[in-house]
């Protein structure tokens, strides 16, 4: 098991190295690195200083090592727009995004999986058909459009919930959170709902497909023969068997929720990382773009490793050395 973990970590480090090279080529080699790092309205002195600091006068492979070195020290440059180190900037926006994404994915799983199991268990019932119809819509309709409709319905027409921004927050462990106050929840509700619909659709489909297959299998036959009720078969056996793909999706989706958060945060003016990156792209704040890319890549690699490890814990066949 330890060898397996080390092997996975080494792979992850390799992927990160490859990603950093790609980001470097993408941002530094394709574009003009001087424009990337130095704000256009900088003075000649600042310009010369920065060129020396980032070694832009040296050969390209040396520049890559300087870039890597800065990366490892957490120096990703300063934002043109906010004039602060981009790492601090991103970290200050991260809690808002994490909070939103976590609530969205949790809600989608807690609601979607039971509904999916039900619609796999009774595929022909009208309720199942309704569940599937909602999930097809959740899959097909672009996230930004659902966001618009939510704002129009709940904020403009009904006036029940605020249409955007984060509202009041309360501090916990030195970080500001919305979920600690009731008013914070009114601001969280619409963006979280918006972000969770796609995940909900996916969880429903996944749980449904898994349940349909397992219900026909021997596990369920034997469980029935022992006199278990269908309800406890679903809870004890089916849920356990479909949990592996669901754990994967939960892990991976948590990462991709960050991606969709870009859209949701823009619509609801939620001050998270997603809105930050869109603002950065629109205002050509390249240091922020680079830092965001590197952090997202790191996040994805971490999630992939974690999912692999959880697999190995859940399913002994996937452990190396234990060939099925």
């Amino acid at each position: 098991m330890l060898g397996f973990i080390i092997q996975r970590l080494l792979q992850a480090a390799l992927v990160m190295l490859a990603m950093s090279a790609l980001v470097f080529v993408g941002v530094y080699a394709i574009g003009n690195p001087i424009d990337v790092i130095i704000s256009p309205d900088a003075t000649q002195d600042v310009r010369a200083q920065a060129i020396a600091r980032y070694g832009l006068d040296r050969p390209i492979w040396e520049q890559y090592f300087i870039f890597l070195g800065n990366l490892l020290r957490g120096d990703l440059g300063r934002s043109f727009l906010f004039g602060m180190p981009v790492l601090d900037l991103i970290l200050s926006r991260l809690p808002a995004t994490l909070e939103l994404a976590l609530i969205a994915v949790l809600a989608a799983t807690l609601v979607g999986v039971p509904l999916g199991i039900y619609s796999g268990y009774r595929p022909e019932s009208p309720i199942s058909k309704a569940i599937m119809a909602v999930s097809i819509l959740g899959f097909s309709v672009p996230t930004f459009w659902i966001g618009l409709i939510l704002i129009l319905t709940f904020a403009v027409w009904l006036g029940w919930l605020p249409a955007g921004s984060r509202g009041p927050t309360r501090e916990l462990f030195g970080i500001q959170w919305s979920f600690l106050t009731l008013e914070g929840w009114t601001y969280l509700a619409l963006p979280a709902l918006n972000l969770s619909l796609f995940k909900f659709a996916m969880m429903v489909r996944l749980a449904r497909a898994g349940t349909r297959e397992i219900m026909l299998g021997d596990t369920v036959k034997f469980a029935r023969a022992t006199g278990l009720s269908d309800g406890s078969i679903l809870r004890r056996h089916v849920l356990k068997l479909i949990s592996i793909p669901i754990v994967t999706v939960f892990g991976l989706e948590f990462g991709s929720t960050l991606a969709f958060a870009v859209v949701t945060e823009t619509i609801f003016s939620w001050p998270g990382v997603g809105k930050l990156i869109i603002d950065a792209i629109n205002s050509l704040d390249r240091p922020v773009m680079v830092a965001y890319l590197v952090l997202v890549a790191a996040l994805f690699v971490t999630i992939n490793v974690l999912v692999d490890l959880v697999y190995a814990l859940l399913d002994p066949r996937l452990r190396p050395g234990a060939k099925a």
């Binding site: 097809i136 930004f144 459009w145 618009l148 409709i149 489909r205 991606a259 792209i281 773009m289």
Partner: protein
């Protein structure tokens, strides 16, 4: 190869296909009567699903309207001379200064929304088709080469594809647009880069199953050349699952393009797709002028949902596990 939903990170749209079994190569349906061609048999089966048939007619109707837009719209919405600010932001049914009725209202510059929507559909469909087709060609070629050649080429290609599949398409497209700049070619490149991996995965899965079949061994024994075996013998047999993925991916490209345009990262203002029309109307939504955003959105969603419904039926037809 074990089931893809268990061993490989499967992203958004891939999950659904993997869980439902499209990644499993579908065998062409065998027809009992020699007079019935496979195409005709498939069409006969397709017709039985009334929802899918209706969706297909809707898709054709929308394409026809979009193609005919210059001849059937009352106004060329991008001819600045024909616009009047007197007509700006009028509700649906308003009779404008030109003397005809704006059935869907007008936007902030006094454009007839119906005309703008039909012109926008042209651009959206065009982008979706181009990105889908280029992605299909590149992805299929890569996937089939990987399956046919095996060895190191296979490892490298499929590693990259799997890595990319674990990265959300929208984030990748976002990054590429940010790096490459705005424009039609850049946008198509971004959409293709975000989507080719789905085609590669599908083509690889289907082709590596075909690769082991006797007819390929026979062709190798003749001996026929590699490219001839791949394109003349294996390709026809991997076409069905690719058609399914292509349908879904064209819808996804349209949706992704709309999302990027909505975020202001899509096409230049001179070529407004539906996403941009929706974005332009967003700011007027708070004051209750819903039609500027809502009607282009409805057009977009009808198109995407219709394509997806057609795709669902095609997938069920090609899925041997659901055959009665």
């Amino acid at each position: 190869m074990s089931h893809p939903s268990l061993d490989a990170p499967v992203p958004a749209a891939g999950i659904e296909s993997a869980a439902l079994g499209t990644a499993v190569p579908a065998t062409p349906s065998h027809t009992t009567s020699a007079a019935v061609t496979p195409v005709r048999a498939a069409w006969r089966e397709f017709k039985e699903n009334r929802i899918a048939l209706g969706a297909l007619s809707v898709v054709f109707l929308i394409i026809a309207l979009a193609v005919a837009a210059p001849w059937i719209t009352p106004q060329n919405p991008y001819d600045i001379g024909s616009l009047s600010l007197m007509d700006a932001r009028r509700p649906p049914g308003y009779v404008g200064s030109e003397g005809y009725t704006h059935w869907l209202g007008t936007d902030a510059s006094g454009r007839d929304l119906l005309s703008a929507i039909l012109y926008g559909l042209r651009i959206s469909i065009q982008m979706g088709l181009m990105a889908g087709l280029v992605g299909l060609v590149i992805g299929t070629t890569l996937g089939m080469v990987a399956a046919y050649r095996g060895g190191r080429i296979e490892t490298v290609i499929m590693r990259v594809v799997d890595l990319q599949l674990s990265f959300p398409a929208i984030l990748l497209a976002l990054v590429l647009v940010a790096l490459l700049g705005q424009g039609k070619t850049q946008l198509i490149a971004a959409l293709v880069a975000a989507q080719y991996a789905y085609f590669a995965r599908t083509a690889y899965g289907a082709a590596s199953a075909e690769r082991r079949k006797d007819y390929v061994e026979a062709a190798l024994a003749v001996p026929l050349g590699g490219s001839r075996i791949v394109f003349r013998h294996i390709l026809p047999n991997v076409t069905p699952p690719l058609i399914v993925v292509a349908t879904v991916q064209i819808a996804n490209s349209i949706s992704l393009e709309a999302t990027l345009s909505f975020l202001g990262l899509g096409l230049p203002v001179t070529e407004p797709s539906l996403g941009m029309l929706i974005a332009n109307g967003f700011q007027y939504m708070m004051s209750g002028r819903y039609w500027i955003s809502i009607y282009p959105g409805i057009a977009l969603i009808v198109l995407i949902v219709a394509i997806n419904l057609v795709g669902d039926q095609v997938r069920d037809q090609f899925n041997p596990r659901l055959k009665r």
